[in-house]
């Protein structure tokens, strides 16, 4: 292994991960723990996903009972795992200039992992298989699993939501304290003066993003509560639950949870990329308006999951389409173009971390293209709940958010351990990209041929798409194994690196 020291003096305006005058070593350790737990769970959930694809290809057929259990755990586990990895990276990045409590973050991790454990028990032992979207009333009407299994799943969600809530409140309070209030953490005076009023110190982009994410996390948990409480009351015989109400609230919760992962990990790009390009990514007016708008836009378009529910008011459907288009604008115009501008003619050295960040930029946009097409109501009329849906979210998850999270993990490990990635590991992002692209592209092709999603049994004419995908999954797995191996070799040094920080 090349042990040349990587951590060098940063260019002006670039905040190093290690705060020289702050005790953020303990928080960096929690951040590493989140990344290990999140990306480790991601790998395990990925194995489950591989079995689903094998089943759909007809190569290794699972019983419908096990297919749907695995499907449920794969979905819930992936959303929770990727978000957890992102939250760890975000806390680490924020801690360089904002004081966070490592103790609170450890408690969050324990609560969150307890929730994930409940979902594992509910699905693998309890046989719960209502899908991660737990679309009411299926959880209590599955016919092949018990009410206890459904309750265990809900308790799991409750714990994950509680963990997220505690994290969000902690981050929001901490960033607000650093800048003298929530309005200042969101740079509102700067925003509404069109960038002229610079009296308040501006938060770093990653701190602004952390505040935005925290607000939407609290909103998501609130929606989850509005979903869960009536269902518990219904289970107790107190009231009945309207199916459309349940669908709306669960999608505000679930859609926001899924989107949070993407935006959290996008925040990691702001935090890490400048270190490689040696160009600062300042808090400009464009960055502020883009991210402050995300607060509303992330919540406004959940209804695009409900286009096929004709009982939903048409105005809400149209609003969802507008919201779905609108949310693409700040992300693409500000974050994506900003990241590409940072890279262009920067002279950056293509180590594993920037390779993964660049891959994530590609995947986020390509997945977004599929999403925007599907959020157009007449297109959704023929694509809804076909393989097109997993196609787009696998793209911006696997090739977007997850690539960002791995990239940030490599950045952290390099910074903290003072070691460079193995030369051979630079092959891994290529394998990841090629394997991942082939894997997700076959979802898109299947969706365009109207192959349904969430089918345990695939007709013979549908199996070809999964069969072509399988070798790409193996290439992807090889890439991911390479990344994990490299990180395992250097992780201990990175952990030790956090302990050298003053006061930790």
């Amino acid at each position: 292994m090349d042990t040349a020291h990587v951590a060098t003096a940063e260019a002006p305006g670039i905040t190093p991960l290690l705060a020289p005058d702050r005790a953020n070593g303990a928080v960096l350790r929690v951040g590493l723990a989140y990344l290990v737990a999140g990306l480790g769970s991601f790998l395990l959930m990925g194995v489950l996903g591989f079995f689903m694809r094998l089943d759909q290809s007809g190569i290794f057929v699972l019983s419908a009972q096990w297919f749907y259990r695995i499907m449920t755990l794969h979905g819930a586990g992936m959303v929770a795992s990727i978000l957890l990895a992102g939250l760890g990276g975000l806390a680490a990045a924020v801690s360089a200039t904002t004081r966070l409590s490592a103790r609170v973050l450890w408690i969050v991790l324990v609560i969150y992992m307890a929730g994930m454990t409940f979902t594992i028990f509910a699905t693998l032992l309890g046989g719960f298989a209502a899908g991660w979207t737990v679309l009411y009333p299926l959880p209590t009407h599955g016919l092949v699993w018990s009410l206890a299994a459904a309750l265990a799943m809900y308790v799991g969600y409750l714990f994950v939501a509680l963990g997220l809530l505690l994290y969000a409140v902690h981050i929001l309070v901490a960033v607000s304290r650093t800048y003298g209030g929530l309005g200042k953490a969101l740079a509102l005076r700067y925003l509404f003066s069109f960038g002229r009023d610079r009296r308040d110190p501006l938060p770093r982009p990653v701190e602004l993003i952390a505040a935005v994410i925290s607000i939407d996390s609290i909103a998501a948990v609130t929606a989850g509560t509005l979903y869960l409480v009536p269902i518990f009351l219904h289970a107790a015989g107190v009231m009945t639950v309207d199916a459309l109400y349940a669908k709306d609230t669960v999608y505000i919760f679930g859609h926001t949870m899924a989107n949070l992962s993407i935006y959290v990990t996008a925040g990691l790009v702001y935090a890490a990329l400048p270190s490689f390009t040696k160009r600062a990514w300042p808090t400009t007016w464009a960055v502020v308006i883009a991210w402050d708008l995300i607060i509303i836009l992330m919540l406004a378009n959940f209804s695009h999951h409900i286009y096929a529910d004709f009982a939903q008011p048409v105005g809400l459907q149209l609003l969802a389409e507008i919201g779905s288009y609108a949310v693409a604008l700040p992300s693409f115009i500000v974050t994506i173009i900003g990241a590409l501008a940072l890279i262009y003619r920067s002279g950056l050295r293509w180590t594993v971390a920037p390779m993964l960040l660049a891959l994530g930029i590609w995947g986020w946009v390509f997945g977004g293209l599929g999403a925007v097409l599907d959020s157009t109501i007449p297109v959704n009329q023929v694509m809804h709940n076909t393989m097109w849906v997993p196609a787009h979210f696998h793209t911006y998850y696997l090739l977007g958010a997850v690539a960002f999270a791995w990239g940030y993990f490599f950045y952290m490990v390099a910074e903290l351990s003072g070691t460079r990635d193995l030369t051979l590991t630079r092959l891994a992002p290529w394998l990841y990209g090629i394997g991942g692209a082939g894997f997700i592209f076959m979802f898109f092709v299947a969706g365009a041929h109207s192959v349904p999603r969430r089918y345990a049994v695939h007709l013979a004419q549908w199996q070809i798409y999964a069969r072509i995908a399988v070798p790409f999954v193996l290439v992807l797995a090889l890439g991911l194994a390479g990344l994990a191996w490299d990180l395992m070799l250097r992780f201990r040094a990175a952990w030790r690196g956090t302990q050298h920080v003053v006061g930790s």
């Binding site: 092949v144 529910d309 048409v314 604008l329 590409l340 920067s346 009329q381 041929h449 349904p452």
Partner: protein, 177 residues
């Protein structure tokens, strides 16, 4: 009606444009120049892209308004339905009030569910989805569609509804009048 394969072609075309643009930037990461020298062109790129994306979004939105699948819009476009089919989903089968459908006239499917959420999706004889709506307990969703080609259409459930989800199919026969 939107052709799903056409959407794939659009995705591939947009994907190729994006990939080429991305690759050009990545390939030109060397030969560093001061960041300040790029600021003007970065702003121009942002403004041009923003204008282009907003125009495309507005066009797509107005196209959407002309092709809404919802009851009022379909009635305004096609007139009153000539045939009504009651469709009720139950774990794990469809109950249809009729299975013989005339071609070329507006057909209304009044879709509901007796238990959990289902999705009433109509597949044409080639195996492509042509229309769909959710079957929800407590609600009746009205899907109006004109069949232009005779043959056997398959109804599939596209909302995961439990163990027997994939078996939840029914056949519709569309005949010339």
């Amino acid at each position: 009606m939107v052709d799903p394969l056409g959407i794939l072609v659009v995705l591939i075309a947009l994907g190729v444009i994006w990939t080429v643009g991305w690759a050009v930037i990545i390939a030109r990461s060397g030969h560093p120049v001061p960041f300040e020298t790029l600021e003007g062109s970065e702003t121009r790129v942002r403004v041009s892209l923003l204008a282009g994306m907003v125009i495309v979004a507005i066009v797509l939105f107005f196209l959407t308004l002309r092709a809404l699948p919802y009851e009022a819009a379909r009635r305004a476009e096609l007139g009153a339905p000539r045939v009504t089919v009651m469709a009720t989903g139950t774990q794990w089968s469809w109950a249809l009030s009729r299975k013989q459908i005339p071609m070329g006239v507006p057909v209304e499917f009044a879709v509901t569910s007796r238990d959990v959420n289902h999705d009433f999706a109509i597949y044409d004889p080639r195996g492509h989805v042509v229309a769909q709506t959710q079957a929800m307990p407590g609600y009746t969703n009205r899907l109006i569609y004109v069949f232009q080609t005779p043959g056997t259409y398959t109804v599939r459930c596209l909302e995961y509804c439990g163990l027997g989800h994939t078996a939840m199919t029914a056949a519709l026969t569309v005949t010339r009048q």
